[in-house]
Structure formats: structure tokens, C-alpha cells
Amino acid sequence: MIHLQAPIKDSDIKQLKVGEKVLISGTIYTARDQAHIRLLKEENYPIPIDGSIIYYVGPTPKKEGFAIGASGPTSSYRMDELAVPLMEDGLKLMIGKGDRSEGFRQAMIKNNAVYLIATGGAGALLSSRIKSSKIVAYEDLGAEAIYELEVDNFPCFVAYDVHGNNIFKDKL
């Protein structure tokens, strides 16, 4: 088990090996399809991209007294092409679910980034590891807006590492 503190340093990346459990703490950002499309049109990103972690999630509405609503991962493959320019600008970790394209995986390795998965459909469990949330961009997108999350020991598994391993192909 590896503990990681956001933002991520280049030296953190190599130690992440496929299948390993990772617990993330610190500030991470959410983005889904629409937020990615908008980010790529920006001259200046509304969030610090260098060393960042993006979590593919569109939470349920927040109740009074809760940090956030249910917050499990959405399928990552829809963001495959959209993620490449962000990795070129310093995005280091992406958290989602499911296999992605070979093109994405190669670009990820080239940019020294890593793809993690969280347990899909475990939105209640994962929300319990999120301590606070606030919208930082694209509020009009509702659940698809970019949220800044403070997470504490947020549980993931390494799905693709920079050493060329793929959890979906190698089946542990």
C-alpha cells in the first residue's frame, strides 16, 4: 500500500506499480466529458494542472451537513483523447474506472503519468473519504462542473503504470 500526497511529483510516479493499492490525500479536482472539452479551450486553466490529480466523477447533490454527495468514478474511456493535452501540461494522475485506449496508454507513459481506478458503484463509500468540496469552474454544468476536493486516504488501485503494465490485460 502506498500513501500519496497531492500534488504529485515526478518521482512519485515510478513507484506506482500495477495492482497496488494507493491512498491519496490532499487536493484533487473533478472533471468529466464537458469540463474536459472546456478546459482544452482555455488559455489559462482555472485549476493548477502541474502535478495535479483529476478524478472522473459527477457527484449527486450535496445534502446539508455533508461534504459531498455520492462520488464514485465514471468510465474513463470517454476522456481518453481529451486527457492527452492535459498530461502534456503536467496532469499526473487520473482516477476513473474501466479500460482505456492504447493511444491513451502510450501518451500516459510518454508523459510520465499514471491511471488509477476506484471501485465503480461505490459512491457512498468513496464519498466518506472526501472531507470537503467546492465548485471552482463551470458551475453551470452542475454535476459536471469542476470541483476541488480535499480527500483523506482516498482508495484507488494502479491500473496502468509507466512500466507498461495494464491491470485489465495482465489480470492479477
Binding site: 495492482g19 493499492k21 464537458q34 466523477v57 459527477g58 457527484p59 449527486t60 447533490p61 450535496k62 445534502k63 455533508f66 454527495g69 455520492a70 462520488s71 464514485g72 465514471t74 468510465s75 474511456y77 474506472k97 474501466g98 479500460d99 481506478i117 471501485t119 465503480g120 458503484g121 461505490a122 459512491g123 457512498a124 463509500l125 464519498s127 466518506s128 452542475g142 454535476a143 482508495p155 488501485f157 491500473a159 491491470i167 485489465f168 495482465d170 489480470k171 492479477l172
Partner: protein, 287 residues
């Protein structure tokens, strides 16, 4: 005028339908059916892969946190599907579609559920109340209204398919298509999945009965012995594919296979495969 009970009508206030839909969508999004949790627990006991077992534990713990902590099971609280069976002797005093959609609107608002419906295939504008529901109406004997209500997530729906096979493809052709579809889907539909299959009918009916098969009790099997055997064989073969929970590999790829079928044209063998994620959220209400 003809005599007899056949003409005795029972009048139903549409507000009862609204109330049932509202209460149902909230309940199913916070509380997983115990029969489903038991199946996942059984699968976990047999699972040999450590990481797969850990994911199954997460899923079980998630159902406890959702229920006790009052958080929806999944952030994708789905699109609402309603199969309404209306008795020949039941008369709904109003617009059933409106009554259902009003229940969806109230339930998704009051239950803090995510509104995931957009107006148009290309403009991305959210309808803001999770309407419209996809409604299928059928007339049946009696004077009751039965509502089968599901909240269906997008991830597993995206991995579903309809294919027109030829009758010569037979059982082997169906098996191959199902196994290929489940294997190709991998971790995307959030396995362990439930596989709903519609055989026969025609192009559109096969898809509707595939969806409806997902609403059957988890422990039943088809009344038809050939279909029941196919359900069982596919369950075994899918679990030998090694996809595993969330696609990470393992013994647990599916929890159940359900097949509904209809008569069909001599030239066609329609096969619809509707995939349901492990968070199978549905219920039934009789009014």
C-alpha cells in the same frame, strides 16, 4: 350491455402513481436489495483473486454506508425506467405519463439524486428534474396497476447491444454473442454484472424484453427448460471469462443471467443484451 364483473371498473387516482414512483426511486437509490447483497457475499466467499475480493468487499461496505449514512449507492442515480402493467379493469383517472414523470421529478429532487437527463442528443442541456422516464405500458387481466421501477445507470447501458442473428446461428450463436459482448465490455459496465437477454420478437421488442428480464427476481429461472439451461450455462461460461470485478480479473464477472423470449419471424433471431451493473436498483409496486 354485457353483464358481469368484466365491466366492473376500478378507478385509480394518478397521484397514487406519482407517490409510488417518488418513494420507489428514493428507496432503490439508497438501499440495495438484500437478495443482491447476499449474492455478492457468496461470490466474495468463492473469489480467489485478492484484488477482486477487495473490490467485492468495497461493494458490500458501500451498501452499508449508503443505507446507514443516507448517501446514494452510486453517483449515477440513473435514468428511470417504468414497466406499467395496467389491469383491463383499472381506469387511471388522468395522464399516466405525467403521473410517472411527476414522481420522478419529486423523487430526484427530494432524494438528492443526480439529474442525468439531457434534452437533445447534441445540445447537452439538462432537463434538471431527471425526466422523462422511459415508460413501457402493457395491459393485463385484473383491476390493479403494477409498476416495475428501475434506476438504470449509463455505464452499463452503454455496453448493451442488439444484434439480428439468423435462426441457423441457434444457441451457439447466441452464446458467442453474449460472451463476446461481456468480454469486450470488460470493466466498463461495473462488474459483477447481471446480464439481461431478450431473444426473439423483433428488433425493438427484443430490447424491451431484455430490459424487463433484468427486473426478475435474482433467484428465479426461466419457465422454459431450454432457456433455463441457457441461462445457467451462460452464467457458468461468463464467470470463466476472467473479467472479474471492475475488470481487474477474477472469478466473479456475473451474478445472474436472465433471458426472456418471444415468438419470432422465420428469417430472424433477434438478440438483445442489456447489461446491468452490480448496483441493480429496481423495485415493484402494486396499486
Amino acid at each position: 350491455m354485457q353483464e358481469g364483473v368484466g365491466l366492473q371498473m376500478r378507478y385509480i387516482d394518478p397521484s397514487l402513481i406519482t407517490k409510488s414512483v417518488k418513494e420507489s426511486v428514493i428507496k432503490i437509490n439508497y438501499e440495495l436489495d438484500q437478495s443482491l447483497v447476499s449474492l455478492i457475499q457468496k461470490a466474495k466467499a468463492k473469489e480467489r483473486s485478492t484484488i477482486a475480493g477487495s473490490i467485492l468487499d468495497d461493494i458490500i461496505e458501500n451498501s452499508e454506508i449508503a443505507k446507514e449514512g443516507n448517501v446514494p449507492l452510486c453517483q449515477d442515480t440513473g435514468l428511470v425506467v417504468v414497466f406499467a402493467e395496467i389491469g383491463f379493469n383499472a381506469h387511471i383517472e388522468g395522464d399516466i405519463y405525467r403521473a410517472i414523470n411527476e414522481g420522478v421529478k419529486q423523487g430526484y429532487q427530494e432524494g438528492y439524486l443526480r439529474k442525468s437527463m439531457v434534452n437533445h442528443p447534441f445540445d447537452g442541456v439538462n432537463t434538471k428534474d431527471n425526466t422523462p422516464a422511459m415508460v413501457h405500458i402493457r395491459y393485463v387481466k385484473g383491476d390493479k396497476v403494477t409498476l416495475k421501477i428501475a434506476s438504470k445507470g449509463g455505464g452499463s447501458e452503454n455496453m448493451s447491444t442488439v444484434k439480428m442473428l439468423t435462426p441457423a446461428a441457434g444457441i451457439e450463436g447466441v452464446k458467442k454473442l453474449v460472451l463476446d459482448t461481456v468480454f469486450q465490455a470488460g470493466g466498463k459496465p461495473c462488474p459483477p454484472i447481471i446480464v439481461g437477454i431478450g431473444l426473439g420478437g423483433n428488433f425493438e421488442k427484443s430490447a424491451i424484453i431484455a430490459k424487463e428480464s433484468l427486473l426478475r427476481p435474482l433467484d428465479d429461472s426461466s419457465d422454459d427448460p431450454i432457456i433455463a439451461k441457457l441461462e445457467n450455462d451462460l452464467y457458468e461460461e461468463i464467470n470463466r471469462l476472467g473479467v472479474g470485478p471492475m475488470g481487474v480479473g477474477g472469478d466473479t464477472t456475473c451474478l445472474a443471467v436472465k433471458i426472456n423470449y418471444l415468438p419470432m419471424h422465420i428469417a430472424s433471431l433477434p438478440v438483445a443484451i442489456n447489461i446491468q451493473c452490480h448496483s441493480a436498483r429496481h423495485t415493484e409496486v402494486i396499486i
